[in-house]
Amino acid sequence: MVHTSMEGALFEPTLYIVKGMCILDIHGNRILAKYYDKDVLPTVKEQKAFEKNLFNKTYKADAEIIMLEGLTCVYKSNVDLFFYVMGSSHENELILQSVLNALYESVSILLRRNVEKRVLLDNLDAVMLAMDEICDAGVILDADPTSIVGRAALRTEDVPLGEQTVAQVLQSAKEQLKWSLLK
């Protein structure tokens, strides 16, 4: 059947609530991003343009929520990372907020509270799994950080020092030195 008019102002009874999630770095570049609705930002080009716009509008003010290009975006940032969850502009903002909390909290647990880009990239696989556990094609799969982390953080041991190459050790030493100098 063809719907010619917009259905009333009520929220639509659907489970497909999340239109997208993304994590950007301090320059607004994408680290990870997922879009779930083929009608919303279907091409990578549109997505990246949207992310740029979103970042420019949000990096200055920590205002939690913004309406942009027909989407409601809730966001949160820490050090050099920006977390966003997008939903339709006709959606319960607090549900989106709960998804953002799940995303941020589970990443935070995975990174042992060091929510910053370098640590995140070191654990990129686990973060990918966590995002996959939070939302499946737009349906909220789980919003409880502990249970999400329980399903995503599967690596038990850390790499013992002996297995790292000399170059790796040097690199990480250099990194640490640089960060301490910059601070």
Binding site: M1, M6, P13, E64, E69, S89, A126, A137, V159
Partner: protein, 864 residues
């Protein structure tokens, strides 16, 4: 020094990111490493992460590359490493729509989903369902049913969510899992019961009765999950919306009850539902006070939710919102500009004239900081103010003009221009200033589309102003400075002045002559065209081709032209047969809202032209002249629902019977419609529905030729639906063996009236002139006594018969209906009716003029 700095910065940027500058070919080379045995989980996992990262960054893989990577990945099923396996699933999902032959992993995934390792099972189900199609699903159906009721919540959720995704492609199959899903609703795990509810409600979406049952059962023993409750509130609200009787009272009660839930999400959901129900709940105040509380929250999203929902309420219940004025005042300086904007605009919408200036000042302090969406909200609010407080137009117009000068995207600028245009149209006092602002704006407008629109407006409104010549300068400047399309629009606008202000004509001729030397074809063509028409001095010609030009719907025009070229390219094309573009009417509701992306507005003819294309030989009928709004031929709650659409062509009418079978245990075969036509009508072809499945609408088309004489085209049709019933299994949809039996179902009668065959429009300002010009056309007139007692009722009824909108009615004591239109086939017709109340009823004198006398008479016959 500076180069050193840059080096350092670059080093810092790339040093932290091992995934920066990854090369696609190298990473795909690395995938070969997967073949090695034994598998090194850490190394392989890193490579998979790299592949996923590349895909995530938008790197494009060819089908071959994706397939290679996919097959390499499948090798990793040898490893028992949990993390690696999970990354493999992720890769399978990402590559499944790029690579070929992905079903190869079905058996590995099936093994994982039925295995013992819980960490595999949930993820394996989701990966499996993303690669299977409905035929393959049969094989895993048993496992899916088990998984839905699995005691591990992750597994159960995974199966339910996958089922939900599959229900869009294989709804019948998923419907068979409803019992298991039903059982899962009562799960202890909040997410499982949420997902189960989604699946069950989805499978009953079109079955109102069982949705009612479901909602009734769940509202009496609500689940713990806040998400599920939100979903339930939405279902309940929809039932209330669809049901006008008192039966919906328990649902409203349930929603009101949710206002006291401990989760803010649920409270908001309930408040939002109550506020937005068309039917007003008994008392809005509990919902409003909840929203009021939200406005004072420390969380921005709560404040936004509260302010937004209150803003929506302004149209329906301004008094309830006005009571929250204090809370909204507090939000005016909110650090979240979205919240501040909503607060200000809501206050503007509800406040008094005296507070306007103060609030406008407040807005201008932060308008540069907010996103375009919200600027548009502000513009709309100001636009409403212009209507509400016409005396404020000067300051409001100045404010809009200021916004027009700021930076902003096309949509924003267009909204401002719209607001000024509305101001110009509604408020005669503001016309001159508004036009002046727009003139100034096009001096420096980078958006071609907007400049063209404004030039068009100047062409329309400018000639009527006191000093038309001052606009010509602005318009002509465009001809010198702008790009092709703008120059062309400027030429058209200039021509309008020439057509409507004879005293300016000599000057306009000179300007148009200059434009004939333009380098752009379109500009030259227009200049020559307008010069030629203006040179004739024929008022009628100038009016029809410059001042009041009909605008056919471009999409339908294109289609009609294509059909015309295919069928009879030698004949001349009659543009009058194409439906004209309808003026879009904006809803008057003054809702303060951030715009949801609107679906593209399509005319009813456009919507159905696709469906009509299935009729063989349809292109020989010519372009569709008009599609009439659907009428129901059955009661709302019957076994078979049928509604009728009349698609009118020049000499034919296509009757489209949209049938829906609401019985899940029946399939209807060879559905056709037996028509009883009035004499002189002739049935040409009929296109039956071969099989009509449960809940999948289908259409029977009947092509009928009109009688040769227009006068005989009025009449009543009888119709009966005839079909063969085959019983089937309601859950699987598989038909029972055997023949089935023939049955029929009577439909209501329907009319072919005058309004079906005419595209009417109300009379315009210069209606008198048009009517006079048609004085020598054949006229039919008669006097009628109408049965209605009330003159308003009578006027409305007459309008309905003639297919005229209510806007055609003017006058108070003596009603006059003025209108015109085009009859199918392209004959224009004008109609005038005068109605006066007399002691015995309402007397009407009706006259119609048309070059075709029979059309004029038909209009009379339609009323008589």
């Amino acid at each position: 020094m500076s180069s050193f700095k840059r080096d350092k910065k670059e080093e810092e940027d790339s040093g932290g990111n091992p995934y920066e500058n990854l090369d696609k070919t190298i990473v795909l080379q690395e995938a070969r490493y997967f073949n090695q045995s034994p598998v090194n989980p850490r190394k392989c996992s890193l490579i998979l992460t790299k592949i996923l990262y590349l895909l995530n960054q938008g790197e494009k893989l060819t089908t071959q590359e994706a397939t290679d990577a996919f097959f390499a990945t499948t090798k990793l099923f040898q490893s028992k490493d949990v993390m690696l396996r999970r990354m493999v699933y992720l890769c399978i999902k990402e590559l499944s729509n790029l690579a070929q032959d992905v079903i190869i992993v079905t058996s590995s995934l099936t093994k994982d989903m039925t295995g013992k390792e819980d960490l595999y099972r949930a993820a394996a189900i989701r990966a499996l369902c993303s690669i299977t199609d409905s035929t393959m699903l049969q094989a895993i159906e048993r496992y899916m049913k088990q998984a839905i009721v699995d005691k591990n919540p992750a597994v159960s959720s995974a199966a339910l969510v996958s089922a939900l995704h599959l229900s869009s492609t294989a709804p019948d199959l998923v419907r068979r899992w409803a019992n298991e899903a039903q059982e899962a609703i009562s799960s202890d795990n909040a997410m499982v019961s949420y997902h189960a509810l989604g699946v069950v409600a989805g499978s009953r979406r079109n079955d109102k009765l069982s949705t009612v049952k479901l909602v009734t059962r769940l509202t009496s023993s609500p689940t713990k999950s806040p998400y599920a409750l939100c979903f339930l509130i939405r279902l309940a609200a929809q039932l209330v919306e669809d049901d006008d009787s008192d039966a919906s009272a328990p649902y409203i009660e349930f929603i009101e009850c949710c206002l006291r839930h401990k989760s803010e999400m649920v409270i908001y959901e309930a408040a939002h539902a109550i506020v937005n129900l068309r039917k007003t709940a008994r008392d809005l105040s509990p919902a409003v006070s909840v929203l009021q509380l939200f406005c004072g929250s420390s969380k921005a999203s709560l404040r936004l939710a509260g302010a937004r929902t209150l803003a929506r309420l302004t149209a329906k219940h301004p008094t309830s919102v006005a009571a929250c004025a204090v809370d909204l005042e507090n939000l005016i300086s909110d650090p979240n500009r979205s919240v501040a904007t909503l607060a200000v605009t809501t206050l503007l919408a509800t406040g008094a004239e005296s507070s306007v200036d103060r609030l406008m000042k407040q807005i201008s302090s932060f308008v540069s900081e907010i996103s375009d969406e919200f600027k548009i909200v502000v513009v709309r609010a100001i636009r409403r103010l212009c209507t509400k407080f016409p005396r404020k137009h000067q300051s409001l117009a100045a404010f809009l003009a200021g916004m027009l000068r700021d930076e902003g995207g096309l949509e924003y600028k267009a909204a401002i221009a719209d607001a000024i245009i509305a101001l110009v149209e509604e408020n005669p006092d503001a016309k001159e200033t508004g036009l002046a602002h727009l003139c100034e704006f096009i001096e420096d407008c980078e958006h071609t589309a907007l400049a063209v629109r404004i030039l068009h407006l100047l062409g329309r409104e400018g000639p009527k102003s006191r000093q038309p010549s001052r606009y010509i300068r602005f318009i002509y400047n465009r001809v010198i400075l702008e790009s092709g399309p703008v120059r062309a629009a400027a030429v058209s606008a200039v021509a309008q002045f020439g057509a409507q202000r004879p005293e300016l004509l000599p000057n306009i001729r000179v300007l148009l002559a200059r434009c004939q030397l333009d380098e752009e074809d379109e500009v030259r063509d227009r200049a020559i065209y307008y010069s030629a028409i203006l040179d004739t001095g024929d008022e009628q010609l100038i009016n029809d081709y410059i001042v009041n030009v009909p605008k056919p719907n471009p999409i339908l025009l294109e289609r009609a032209l294509r059909d015309h070229l295919n069928t009879h390219p030698d004949e001349a094309f009659n543009i009058m047969t194409v439906p004209a573009e309808e003026e879009q009417k904006e809803s008057k509701e003054a809702i303060v809202e951030i715009e949801v992306k609107k679906p593209v507005q399509m005319s009813i003819e456009e919507i159905y032209s696709e469906q009509l294309a299935v009729i063989p030989g349809i292109d020989r009928l010519g372009p569709v002249f008009k599609t009439n709004p659907p009428i129901d031929l059955t009661e709302a709650e019957t076994e078979y629902r049928v509604r009728l659409l009349k698609h009118v062509y020049a000499r034919h009418v296509v009757l489209q019977f949209e049938c829906t079978n609401t019985l899940s245990d029946q399939i209807l075969e060879q559905v056709h419609v037996k028509l009883e036509c009035p004499v002189e009508y002739e049935i040409k072809t009929e296109l039956p529905i071969q099989k009509l499945f449960y809940d999948k609408p289908g259409s029977v088309f009947v092509v009928v030729e009109y009688p040769c004489s227009f006068l005989e085209s009025l009449g009543t049709f009888g119709a009966t639906l005839e079909f063969i019933v085959r019983d089937c299994d309601p859950t699987t949809g598989v038909p029972d063996p055997g023949e089935g039996y023939a049955d029929s179902y009577p439909l209501e009668e329907f009319e072919m009236g005058c309004s079906d065959q005419i595209r009417a429009r109300p009379g315009t300002d210069d209606w008198e002139q048009t009517w006079e010009r048609a004085a020598n056309a054949p006229e039919a007139s008669d006097t009628f006594v109408l049965s209605q007692n009330d003159i308003n009722e009578a006027a409305k009824a007459v309008c309905e018969h003639l297919g005229l909108p209510k806007a055609a009615i003017t006058g108070e004591a003596v009603k006059e209906i003025r209108g015109g239109g085009i009859f199918r086939g392209g004959a224009p017709v004008l109609v005038r009716a005068r109605l006066a109340a007399t002691p015995g009823g309402v007397t009407m004198q009706l006259a119609s003029r048309s070059p075709r006398e029979d059309v004029a008479q038909l209009l009379l016959a339609a009323v008589g």
